[in-house]
């Protein structure tokens, strides 16, 4: 680790927080219907859909509308991927995807996961990229933010029972937040070297006389929303490592900024909506604390390199360089990795499979903690609010008092639903991993023997269920078994989680706001932050420790003993 490295990390984090505060206020104003500069465009959507944007919806109506638009998005994307051979803007003449792969990919993009069992430049047409995949990058992000706004309203309102209007939230977030940001960031990306063209791939004659086929495409705009929407699905197969997807250190810095700014901003939005900025600030600082700690852990592990490399005669001054690019450096690779896995983005600018065992364990553990640090756009906020409810519940148990959060009594129904949501992750991840490790047709996909092989499989289901979408390389994911089960894991991680969350929101929205008394546990400040962090670590993380002990931790000690597989 170097001082310069930490200066890079500090600068990017400062830029994220500096932008998150005004952006969070803007989204709060939007949620309250005070931002209307694109009214005519908005009206077009309402007229075409027969939507009354002022009609209030209860949690069921809100959730059903959300599920309907996602089902429709899935259907359209599945059709585009299957039929791409007959669709325009396909200069390489790519055929439609297999049903397994099209199912997996469509689920993946609708569920804001962007797990990719294909390589973009070798299988996906320009049309499928922009009109299929990129559209879902926007819409899955809007879905997450809309849900976060609905859940925020449950705490902001007293005994109303309604959570806003899904259609209005969904249309406004897309038009007023995501599209303008993506246009600006996309243009900056072009200026810094990311291609944006409909021209066919170019064949170059290299200096030594060889041929090199260089893929192109309308990449910059899609890559902008890929980060802003914490989607993470690369235009090119190797994601932000590709020199066209991550041409330099500034681009990678902007990508880190883009994938973390909205999740952090939504904490500020929450504080504004509940009329108590301290509440949002506390959540934000807990998230930030985890990101900094994770970055430090990854940076330290990767900068140290491995004793096996040293014994082979490699100079460890550059750290562990296998799977990393010279232009980014280790500091930005560490911060990128911590934010992309903490934020449920899943883009990568370094290959986790080649990380040191401990460096590779951090991104895995960050996803397992529930994707709330800072989490995906929207899903991070409603996820950490679930942990906040559990934290006040735990505190309430200690003193024997009915817990409250922001004046809302948290009772048996809410806690049962919260536990139901929180248990989706371990059940899905550990269940599927355990089954796959004894199925020959699943283990045939592994690239490594020894503990690294277990980590590959564990990471795949963790990434899918956590809706992260990053890959721990190596694993051959395009098989019927993995395409199907990873697809199911993505669906469970997104929708089986969100329905209980919406039920909690509906239940809380109907409750009166009790005024704060002398016995009320303050849910801001260092005491609560510590409690919340503890609950996230213990409730979110503990059940995964045995699997981590068998995977990355075992590999660490095997590595220290100098053993290879």
């Amino acid at each position: 680790m170097t001082l310069n490295g930490w200066a890079q990390i500090t600068l990017v984090l400062a830029a994220i927080i500096a932008a998150a505060i005004p952006l969070g206020r803007y989204i709060a104003a939007l949620a309250e219907g005070r931002v209307r500069w694109l009214r005519p465009v908005e009206a077009l959507f309402y007229r075409a859909g027969g939507i009354d944007p002022t009609a209030e919806q209860g949690w069921r109506a809100y959730a059903v509308a959300m599920l309907a638009v996602n089902a429709m998005g899935f259907l359209l994307l599945y059709l585009i991927l299957r039929l791409q051979g007959a669709l325009p803007l396909n200069p390489r003449g790519f055929e439609g995807l297999s049903p397994w792969l099209a199912f997996n990919t469509a689920v993946s993009f609708v569920a804001n996961t962007n797990w990719q069992a294909y390589s973009g430049e070798a299988a996906i047409s320009y049309f499928s990229q922009m009109a299929g995949l990129a559209v879902q990058n926007f819409l899955s992000a809007s879905t997450g933010i809309a849900l976060a706004l609905a859940v925020s309203r449950a705490f902001a309102r007293g005994s109303v029972g309604s959570l806003g209007n899904f259609w209005a939230d969904f249309v406004r977030i897309t038009l007023y937040v995501l599209l303008p940001l993506a246009l600006v960031v996309g243009l900056v990306f072009v200026a810094l070297g990311i291609p944006q063209t409909f021209a066919d791939y170019v064949t170059a004659t290299t200096l030594e006389g060889g041929e090199q086929l260089i893929p192109l495409g309308p990449a910059a705009f899609q890559i902008a929303i890929k980060h802003l929407g914490t989607n993470g699905g690369g235009f090119f197969g190797v994601n932000s490592l590709h020199p066209f997807e991550g041409p330099g250190a500034l681009v990678t810095g902007i990508q880190i900024w883009a994938q973390a700014v909205i999740p952090f901003a939504l904490c500020v939005t929450f504080g504004h909506l509940v009329r108590d900025a301290r509440q949002g600030r506390t959540l934000l600082l807990v998230m930030l604390g985890f990101v900094v700690a994770a970055t430090a852990a990854i940076y330290a592990a990767e900068a140290a390199g491995t004793p096996i490399m040293a014994s082979l005669g490699v100079d460890l001054a550059q750290g562990n360089m296998e799977g990393k690019e010279v232009r980014f450096g280790l500091a930005l690779a560490a911060l990128f990795t911590a934010t992309t896995t903490g934020a449920s983005c899943g883009a990568v600018n370094a290959m986790f499979s080649s990380f040191t065992p401990l460096g590779g364990m951090v991104p895995l553990f960050l996803i397992q903690l529930g994707e709330v640090l800072p989490g995906g756009v929207g899903s991070g906020l409603y996820g950490i609010l679930i942990f906040a409810l559990l934290a006040v519940f735990v505190a309430g148990l200690m003193v024997g008092r009915t817990p409250e959060y922001l004046g809302k009594k948290v009772q048996a129904r809410e806690i049962k639903l919260a536990m139901l949501a929180v248990l989706v992750l371990p059940a899905t991840i550990l269940g599927f991993t355990a089954v796959s490790m004894v199925l020959p047709m699943a283990t045939a996909s592994l690239a490594h023997a020894g503990p690294h092989g277990l980590t590959e499989m564990l990471y795949a289901y963790t990434s899918a269920a956590g809706n992260n979408g990053s890959a721990f390389g190596g694993l051959t994911a395009d098989t019927p078994w993995l395409n199907t089960t990873l697809g199911i894991a993505m669906l469970l991680g997104r929708f089986a989680y969100v329905v209980p969350v919406m039920a909690i929101a509906g239940s809380l929205a109907g409750k009166v706001k009790t005024p704060e008394g002398s016995g009320t546990l303050p849910t801001h400040g260092p005491l609560f932050a510590g409690l919340l962090a503890g609950v996230i670590l213990i409730l979110g993380g503990l059940q995964f420790l045995p699997s981590l002990a068998l995977g990355p931790l075992a590999e660490h000690f095997v590595m220290l003993a100098g053993k290879t597989f």
Binding site: N4, Q8, L11, L44, A48, A65, V69, M72, G73, L76, A131, A134, V135, L139, V171, G186, L187, V190, P195, Q196, T197, A199, V202, A204, T206, L207, E208, Q212, L213, I214, P215, P218, F221, V238, L241, H242, P243, P247, L250, G305, M309, G313, V314, Q318, M321, K324, E325, V326, G329, L332, V348, A350, M351, S353, S354, H452, T455, G474, E555, F565
Partner: protein, 183 residues
Amino acid sequence: MTGILRPAATTVVLFTALLGLAAPAAMTGIAGAVFPAQAGGSLLVRDGQVIGSELIGQAFADARYFHPRPSAAGSGYDASAAAASQQGPTSAKLADAVRERVAAAGLQPVPADAVTASGSGLDPHISPENAARQVPRIAAARNLPEARVLGLLQEHTEGREFGLLGEPRVNVLRLNMALDALR
């Protein structure tokens, strides 16, 4: 049911037209007008022929050229098959490959980037330390004084972006083009 299906269908279709067609088309138009070189892939042209992209690494085996990092993209620097080795820290395959590369690289210890594959397989850069070790070989093969090659290397060594971001590096293709242009 139609109360839900109609808004869901119209919203998805309208957004596909706006976000999937109109916006990227507009972006492509603006990008092509304002930043034509970058939008088209930062291609390098010599004597009317595309010889590569400034951003994409190329394979070099000739002793007269600076050599890039090992690559796992196809048979090496295949830009249509970008890939990492994906080998883990306890992989015997990786250890064997690195042992072989270290043996070929001469004096130990060897800079890490010289014997490890990048994550894209298309890394256009090498570290200045890696490049400096190659200077004597190139000077001998080209019959040039070492100081001349070293001077050229120093000219082509880029510092951190804005003096802060990333790491110092050398673009191998650009440096090799400059070598060819020497007389």
